[in-house]
């Protein structure tokens, strides 16, 4: 035997899973976009930080190059006239307006190169120039002396360093000899400036030297340069002042700088550390280390850069991408879930429709098959009764009439069973159209006039004042009214009276069918609308009935959104009232 597979509706979990799969895919895409945005931001940050640090380092080296030019100018002054007076040197340096235009250098000075034999004469010469307390210090015998003789501007602690022999100290000496031997500018390692000796704070400093050679002397080789050396044009620097002079107040709180003397990060050789470097370096989103060779000397620049150098909008982009992606994913997933469920519902609904339609067709087919033979009987009996086969005797006519009536009842029952089956499966489909209730009632009455007259009953119709038009299925409504009038006639004695009245009552159409019949016991009133219910009364044996009519009546009225009400008194008659909404 073949098994039939049933089309079951998938459970909600299937839709949940399907939606989640799509949701997860979108979540994946969101995460990818987020990651991409994060990487882009990192890249942007790195580039910005690199650019910023390069700019900063460039500014420092450029400024040092400017100072070098001034030093070279000083050297040039000695070239032009070997005998440069203190006043001339002051005038020369003053023209640069160093304090205002190039803040950062402590001053520009000159230190002659003096052999031990010439030391006494040198001291005497300077003393004679108006500096009576001038001596070269520190005291002691050394192979050569390079005492500071000029240093402008001669303000602050600058005058107190006059006479200081810079070659007496190894770091300075190394730089002095380098300048002497190369003929180029040299830069010293980290020193404490002579100006700061005896001060509480020892700020890091350094010096730059440029050699001054005697005119008309060969200086091609280190030995020749050493022999021709006259002295040094020089400049002392405090690193903090230098940087302050370069950057001034433009201190970026998002960038910390630490400068080391030499290559690498030797903590004993720290030249400078900005106030916020430690804080920024503690959480270094990025640290950039650059080494620069300046005048034969290496400095290591370390920049600690905060992500805040990127604008807040740019920084928030990855998060914004993530959040909007998540929101979109959630909305999409929910929407998809909704869509799937409603689609499944509509599919299930149409499937149900199909099943119902198939059922309906089967019912129609069954009733068709039942009706056809009865229709044959009806036709042939009808032909006999109507004289198509010759005149009938009264007795023949009477018998055939009974057979005809019986066949009619059978047809009616087939019909009613069909409608009951349809009503039970909720398959009474209303085809609503505008229905004029007055005309419909008149039509039903006209159709039954013959039967009613044969029972010697009187029927009257009280139409409503105006037109009473509602949206209804004419065929079904006809069936319901027909049934009620038919019942009224059936359960009323010969000579009785039937009154049909129509009225518009509070937005509803009212149709009442009143008779002077046998009436209905109040306790039976409830079950009278039930299927296959027939009440016993004095007329029930004389008239036929299937017990379906009132059930169908109520079904039809309720399908139209209306109600049917029964009032009755045993022996006095009944009133069935239908109320239908006027749309």
């Amino acid at each position: 035997m073949r098994k039939r597979t049933l089309n079951r509706r998938p459970s909600v979990s299937v839709y949940v899973i399907a939606s989640l799969v799509v949701g997860l895919a979108f979540l994946g895409v969101t995460l990818l976009l987020w990651q991409n945005a994060s990487q882009t931001l990192q890249q942007q940050f790195r580039t910005s930080a690199q650019q910023m640090s390069d700019n900063s380092t460039d500014a420092i080296t450029k400024r040092l190059a400017t100072y070098e030019e001034i030093m070279r100018g000083g050297a040039g002054l000695f070239k032009a006239s070997e005998d440069v007076t203190r006043h001339e040197w002051k005038e020369f340096i003053d023209t640069y307006d160093v304090e205002n235009r190039y803040p950062g250098a402590q001053g520009f000075g000159y230190a002659p190169y003096i052999k031990p034999a010439d030391l006494a004469a040198h001291e005497a010469q300077i003393q004679a120039e108006g500096l009576p307390s001038y001596t070269v210090f520190p005291a002691g015998e050394r192979p050569i002396y390079t005492p500071i003789v000029y240093l402008e501007p001669s303000t602050g602690s600058n005058p107190k360093v006059l006479g200081f022999d810079m070659s007496s100290e190894s770091t300075r000496r190394a730089a002095l000899f380098l300048a002497r031997d190369t003929g180029q500018t040299s830069m010293s390692g980290k020193v404490i400036l002579a100006q700061d000796t005896g001060q509480k704070t020892h700020e890091a400093g350094f010096l730059m030297f440029f050699p001054v050679y005697r005119n008309d002397t060969p200086i091609s080789t280190p030995a020749e340069r050493s022999a021709a050396l006259m002295g040094f044009s020089y400049a002392p620097f405090r690193v903090s002042n230098l940087l302050n002079g370069i950057f001034g107040d433009k201190n970026d709180p998002n960038v910390g700088l630490k400068i080391y003397d030499g290559a690498g990060r030797n903590e004993n050789a720290v030249m400078f550390e900005s106030s916020d470097f430690k804080t920024l370096d503690a959480h270094p989103p990025i640290a950039i280390t650059t080494q620069r060779q300046i005048n034969h000397h290496t400095w290591t620049f370390v920049y600690a850069v905060s992500p805040n150098i990127i604008s807040a909008r740019d920084r928030q982009r990855p998060l914004a991408t993530l959040i909007s992606g998540l929101v979109f994913t959630v909305i999409l997933t929910a929407f998809l879930f909704q869509l799937l469920v409603s689609r499944a519902r509509s599919l299930a609904y149409s499937k149900q429709q199909e099943v119902q339609e198939a059922k309906d067709e089967l019912l129609s087919l069954a009733s068709h098959q039942l009706r056809t033979p009865a229709t044959g009987v009806k036709q042939y009996l009808g032909m006999l009764l109507e004289g198509y086969a010759g005149k009938l005797s009264p007795e023949q006519n009477n018998m055939l009439s009974k057979a005809y009536t019986s066949n009619e009842r059978q047809l009616e029952i087939i019909n009613q069973i069909l409608y009951v089956a349809r009503a039970d499966s909720g398959r009474i489909l209303l085809h609503k159209q505008e229905v004029d209730l007055n005309s419909l009632v008149v039509q039903v009455i006209n159709e039954q006039t013959g039967t009613i007259k044969s029972r010697k009953q009187k029927i009257t119709c009280k139409k409503s004042r105006g037109k009473l038009i509602i949206m209804a299925d004419k065929q079904y409504l006809h069936m319901a009214i027909d049934n009620l009038i038919n019942n009224a006639s059936k359960y009323t004695h010969s000579g009785g009276r039937i009154i049909v009245a129509l009225k518009k009552v509070k937005g509803e159409a009212m149709i009442s069918i009143q008779d002077t019949g046998v009436g209905i016991n109040p306790q039976d009133a409830a079950q009278i609308f039930e299927k296959f219910t027939r009440l016993d009364n004095e007329l029930s044996t004389q008239v036929g009935g299937s017990g379906i009519g009132l059930y169908l009546c109520q079904q039809i009225v309720e399908l139209h959104g209306g109600r049917i009400i029964l009032e009755s008194k045993i022996g006095k008659g009944s009133i069935f009232t239908i109320y239908l909404p006027i749309e």
Binding site: S364, R371, T372, T375, G376, Q379, M383, Y388, L411
Partner: protein, 134 residues
């Protein structure tokens, strides 16, 4: 001719009614009644046969059952295409099937009227035919 007075036989004899009904018993019954009433009654037992007869005989009215073998009443209507014809017979759909969808379809295909076969006695049938051929 019958107990109910009828229009003149001369006029009626010109009117042709094609009965399309697969049930022999019913086909015969309608034929008897219609002939007795003075119509020229033709019989077909399915839609296919009806198409041929309708084409040749050009009836004034077609009494059309819906449920038939070979070709159903609805298929007949689709093929016959009455609304496009020069000669347009009245079409009385006369069936014991009462699926509303089929009835609507029949009207859409050019049917003039639908009657549930079981409700029409010979007398009622004749009244309707008279009305349609007035």
């Amino acid at each position: 001719m019958t107990k109910q007075g009828a229009p003149s036989p001369v006029k009626k004899s010109k009117q042709k009614v094609l009965i399309v009904e697969d049930e022999q018993l019913l086909n015969d019954a309608y034929k008897i009644v219609l002939q007795k009433e003075g119509y020229t009654a033709l019989s077909a037992f399915d839609g296919q046969e009806a198409l041929e007869i309708a084409e040749n005989e050009k009836p004034n009215l077609i009494l059309l059952d819906l449920r038939m073998p070979v070709m159903s009443g609805l298929e007949f209507l689709e093929n016959f295409n009455v609304t496009e014809r020069k000669h347009q017979p009245k079409i009385l759909v006369f069936s014991n099937m009462d699926i509303q969808g089929d009835i609507d379809k029949a009207y859409a295909l050019g049917a003039t009227k639908y009657i549930l076969k079981a409700w029409a006695s010979p007398k009622e049938l004749i009244r309707i035919v008279h009305d349609l051929l007035k």
